[in-house]
């Protein structure tokens, strides 16, 4: 079976390439995490050494736990990220469906209008946004952040989702119409399940900049009770510049929640794919 042998060889090559790139991708993270468990002297003596009993030290994490309320920060970040994701995915998919499914006057104009937001960073409008939030009484609330991030995420979501929705079979939708489904039912029970992989992809791309954003939490919600974890970590780095143990520990902790969120969505992505689209 020449074919089988060939594919074995190719599989080994595939694993070699992927493993090689995985090493490149993970090495810096590895450096942060191992050094966060070491004593200060060991960090400088041999940065690549693993944390072994001789140089193992929890001092960084102890400092982090004593300072600030990291659990509250995590909770705030989670609320903001999940809330914005919900708005972006639901409203974005609805708008993408309208744009990709119906021919109406102003369709491409509306598409262009919504795509404008991909081209300009929302940060350019910061001062006006702050004025808006002040007059709406939303400063130092998580709602303000959710609104801003929803607006920031919507254009890209609409852009990507409408691209994917165009490849959903027209026959399927028309079959639904003939069976008497309303347009809403067609959207929620036919189209949405079919673009679930695309939704998961959009979710991942929307979530990351929201979780990692420093700018808007700093300007719109800097109060202790609404601080997000990135802002918390940044303030921490600012205060403890020379305390490398604490900085490395704070950075390691900041990686964990977003990794968990990512894993949740990537599982959804796999499930969406294996559930099988129309075949």
């Amino acid at each position: 079976m020449a074919n089988a042998r060939l594919s074995t060889g190719r599989k080994i090559a595939a694993h070699a390439v992927l493993l090689g790139y995985t090493l490149i991708a993970l090495f810096p993270v590895f450096v942060i995490v191992i050094n966060s468990f070491k004593s200060r002297k060991a960090i400088f003596a041999d940065p690549l050494a693993l944390p072994l009993p001789g140089n193992f030290d929890f001092v960084g994490y102890r400092t982090v736990m004593k300072q600030g309320d990291f659990f509250l920060y995590f909770q705030n970040s989670l609320t903001v990220t999940v809330g914005s994701l919900f708005c972006v995915l639901l409203f974005g998919a609805m708008a993408a469906f309208a744009l990709s499914e119906y021919r109406f006057r102003g369709n491409s104009l509306m598409g262009l209008y919504l795509a404008l937001g991909i081209m300009i960073p929302i940060r350019l409008g910061t001062v006006a946004i702050l004025e808006l939030m002040v007059s709406a009484g939303l400063v130092n609330t998580l709602t303000a952040l959710i609104l801003v991030y929803s607006a920031q995420g919507l254009p890209l979501a609409v852009f990507i989702l409408s691209e994917f929705m165009r490849s959903v079979s027209d026959d399927l939708k028309n079959a639904g119409r003939i069976d008497g489904l309303s347009e809403y039912r067609i959207f929620f029970s036919l189209v949405l399940p079919l673009v679930r992989p695309a939704m998961a992809t959009v979710a991942v791309f929307t979530m990351i900049p929201i979780w990692n954003d420093l700018w808007f939490p700093l300007i719109l919600a800097p109060a202790e009770s609404t601080k997000t974890v990135t802002l918390g970590a940044q303030v921490f780095i600012g205060q403890f510049v020379t305390d490398w143990n604490a900085v490395l520990a704070a950075l390691s902790l900041a990686i964990v929640p977003v990794l968990v969120l990512y894993l949740v969505f990537s599982r959804q992505l796999i499930r969406g794919i294996t559930a099988g689209a129309v075949k």
């Binding site: 694993h15 790139y21 810096p28 929302i122 006006a128 079979s169 347009e183 979780w211």
Partner: protein
């Protein structure tokens, strides 16, 4: 036909929430900023309308234009590196990942995507550590394989700093093209691939002849996202080199130039009017790129429904 129906309210219902949030929180504030680029401080600090004069200063007055063209050139190089390094590697990784029945595919995909989920704070910090000539891991590692003479303080040299940072950015964001292409490759129906196999098209030629044409629309999306992302980039340069984008502005891109102008830095006060003009120029550049994509490329791509 649907077009004959009187008023199709469902279209409005589908569009309304997205359009409302987007208009109120994004477009109106941004429009305010663009409007502001047409004003400048008059006598006594009052706001006066100056038309396009801010832009004339930005493009023509040596005090501003040197910095502007420098930032624009650096930005173009930054983008070029992403297009030449990030996207081909991303597509290749996705193609390898989508090999049917590949073991540990989920592990590789997650691992390669991890840099993308890290915050700029972390990325800037760790790469500065790795590349640092004093504490750094890079000199030690090069030493171990006998290539120590290749090491240079990359982030500190004018000729290397921008390229080094662009490669760090590539390292961070390679997950995005990889994921999008991976999703596109998986959505190619098995029937098409089976038909290709029946005709004896397998392996590399299957990728070039069958899969690549089918994922071209996704590659188009990635290119335009890279373009927009790169011309909006700011954070990585800021956390690695500060707002002054050293050494000697060698890593200055439009985002950092805008930041310095808008909010000011050490010796210079912030100038919201010139800042708005730079924002307007960035907007124009990105708008041109997106129009080229939408009207020149996207309309010519062939789409397949399956």
């Amino acid at each position: 036909m649907a077009a004959r129906k009187p008023v199709r309210w469902h279209i409005a219902v589908f569009l309304a929430p997205a359009v409302l949030i987007y208009t109120a929180v994004m477009i109106i504030p941004l429009f305010g900023t663009l409007l502001q680029s047409l004003y400048n401080k008059g006598e006594g600090g009052a706001r006066v309308f100056v038309g396009l004069q801010n832009f004339a200063t930005l493009f023509g007055d040596a005090l501003w234009s040197d910095a502007f063209w420098n930032a624009l050139g650096n930005n173009a190089w930054f983008f070029l590196i992403h297009m030449l390094v990030q996207n081909p590697i991303g597509v290749a990784l996705a193609a390898i990942l989508s090999t049917p029945r590949l073991r540990m595919a989920a592990f590789y995909r997650t691992a390669i995507f991890i840099p993308t989920i890290l915050s700029f704070v972390i990325v800037g910090f760790v790469w500065k550590l790795i590349l640092s000539p004093i504490w750094g891991i890079a000199p030690g590692m090069l030493d171990a394989v006998g290539l120590k003479m290749l090491f240079a303080p990359w982030l500190g040299k004018e000729e290397y700093a921008l390229t080094a940072l662009a490669l760090v950015s590539v390292w961070q964001f390679i997950g995005i093209p990889m994921m999008l292409i991976y999703a596109a490759l998986l959505s190619i129906p098995d029937e098409i691939l089976e038909a290709a196999e029946m005709d004896g098209i397998t392996g590399m030629s299957q990728f070039w002849k069958i899969k690549l044409p089918l994922i071209l629309p996704s590659i188009g999306i990635i290119s335009i996202l890279t373009f927009v992302g790169n011309f909006n980039a700011f954070d990585l340069i800021y956390v690695a080199q500060g707002a002054l984008a050293g050494p000697d502005y060698a890593t200055d891109i439009l985002g950092t130039f805008l930041y310095r102008t808008f909010f000011g830095f050490q010796l210079q006060l912030g100038d919201p009017y010139m800042g708005s003009a730079i924002a307007g120029a960035m907007f124009g550049i990105i708008l041109i790129g997106v129009c080229v994509y939408l009207f020149g490329i996207q309309t010519r791509l062939r789409r397949y429904q399956f």
